[in-house]
């Protein structure tokens, strides 16, 4: 008699994780592209728009309208993009029908990296040969200095993306050393194009803060505006050049708006620092925050506005006094398992 041995498919499957990440065949990606194009036309018809001129932004808007989602993570929401953006670029099969690999360095494992090293070394040898020829003809070697300050080499991640292969730190540093050796030779200008493939421009980082010039209102009085913030309070201040030292906050005089002396002192500090207490008029608007943070926000706004009235040296003094820096302190969040941001629950021995 035969005994049926019933097993589930889960038991029969071999180790599924050992095959590595999914490999997409060319036919699969082609089918996905066709489906995407068809779907785009259907979507355009559904939204009542022209299928020919339906751009990616229209698709995003249509999907957000048809499938509203309150999920926090933008990448978890439904999306419809071209398959080349969704499926990562992968290596196709490296050998032909008869089994012979296409690339001559296939058996090393890291074919693109080693072929890159081979090419770079060949350029180096070329440059050395050219140098030898010039020396043999007694011609002077070119000495134009490359501008090294504005460029940087490719990072390891950028190189990995270029080669579609994983690199180790050692490999990357060897490649950079080889490039530096190539660049150090006097006649390296011949291979300028090749070297430019691996260098990127570094944007100039220093940006001087532009001090706005004074503006003039209908009466001919010079004024200037400034914005400031502190915790959750946001303030804008307009400082006039006329005189009397009157300060108005949200249409209310400061004596009524800030009953506490400390807040009024904060407001007057920039003027006191520059010695211009009775010389300027100020009108400000403030919202959000509490008593003290509103005062701090107006202080910052007025200091920023005063920069236009004052010499560069005094601006530097203000900066060093801390009048122009935004206070980064905000309320720290409460953590789970604790009563507050820092306070822990009462510890009981038993």
């Amino acid at each position: 008699t035969l005994r049926l041995i019933c097993t589930t498919t889960a038991v029969q499957k071999n180790n599924a994780g050992a095959s590595g990440p999914e490999k997409y065949t060319e036919a699969f990606i082609k089918k996905q592209i066709e489906e995407f194009n068809l779907g785009k036309r259907h979507l355009a018809n559904m939204m009542g728009e022209d299928p020919e001129t339906f751009t990616q932004e229209d698709i995003d808007r249509a999907i957000a309208y048809l499938f509203p989602s309150g999920l926090f993570d933008k990448q978890a929401r439904p999306m419809m993009k071209h398959p080349t953006e969704i499926f990562p670029e992968q290596r196709k099969i490296q050998w032909g029908e008869d089994g012979r690999p296409f690339h001559f360095l296939f058996y090393t494992g890291k074919q693109s990296y080693y072929s890159l090293m081979h090419e770079t070394y060949e350029k180096l040898l070329n440059v050395q040969k050219h140098q030898d020829q010039l020396i043999a003809q007694d011609l002077p070697l070119q000495k134009e200095k490359r501008n090294l300050a504005g460029s940087r080499w490719l990072t390891k991640i950028e190189l990995e993306e270029m080669l579609l292969e994983k690199l180790s730190d050692d490999d990357y540093s060897r490649f950079i050393q080889l490039l530096q050796k190539l660049v150090a030779l006097p006649c390296a200008d011949i291979e300028e194009k090749y070297i430019q493939k691996f260098s990127r421009e570094v944007p100039v980082q220093l940006q001087k803060v532009v001090i706005e010039p004074l503006q003039y209102d209908e009466r001919g009085v010079a004024f200037s505006t400034g914005e400031g913030k502190r915790k959750t309070a946001r303030a804008t201040a307009v400082v006039y050049d006329s005189g009397t030292g009157k300060i108005t906050v949200n249409g209310i005089d400061i004596l009524h708006y800030f009953p506490v002396l400390q807040d009024r002192e904060q407001l007057l500090f920039p003027f006191q620092f520059l010695g211009r207490i009775g010389k300027h008029d100020m009108v400000c608007t403030v919202s959000g925050g509490g008593r003290s943070s509103q005062a701090g926000a107006i202080r910052l706004a007025s200091a920023k506005a005063l920069r236009s009235f004052v010499t560069e040296k005094e601006v530097e003094f203000m900066r060093q006094a801390g009048l122009l820096t935004v206070d980064p302190r905000v309320k720290e969040r409460k953590k789970p398992g604790q009563e507050g941001p820092r306070r822990k629950f009462t510890w009981k021995k038993r």
Binding site: I93, Q94, W95, D98, G99, R100, P101, F104, L105, F106, Y107, T108, G109, K110, Y114, H118, Y121, E122, L125
Partner: protein, 216 residues
Amino acid sequence: DDKLLTEPLGHPDFFSVKELFTLKDLFDARVHLGHKKGCRHRFMEPYIFGCRLDQDIIDLDQTMQHLQLALNFTAHVAYRGGIILFVSRKRQFCHLVESTARACGEYAHTRYWQGGLLTNAHIQFGPGVRLPDLLIFLSSLSNVFEPHVAIRDAAKMNIPTVGVVDTNCNPCLISYPIPGNDDSPAAVELYCKLFRMAIIRAKDKRRQSEAIEELR
């Protein structure tokens, strides 16, 4: 097709490999120079002609025979469309060996040899890889002066090997050893030239024979 494959096997030197080099060429390329007496490997003693001022001199007559056998074998492998892998761990000749391999249309590996390249190929490269049918060593030692791992791996995977063995190398597991100098640039350039010419000749002959067969 059968006739194409069996016909070359009848001749002792179908590709006339003997004409590619003479004893004088080997001498001019300094192939006979070995390492010092202290570096000598025990199994290389049959191939050594003598010792002059502590330096070993390799017997060029034996080298001629071995080189002729090896070139004949590579030509036959290339004729039958086999994959040839040039291996060398000498940093000086890495570029030269890779350029030679590219010129022949064959493959090269002159970099760090990862452990499972031949023995674990199906997992490293993917299912359905074809392994090399011949390994040619332009220098059979690795950078640490020990026998190259590929010799042992090729023996494990039943892949024939051809290798240039110097006086400090172990010729045991290599199927077609060529006793000769592996350190001078002149010698290595000569070997590259000979292998390249043999492989190209064999491939040309194969194409000619196939063209003749098609015409019939």
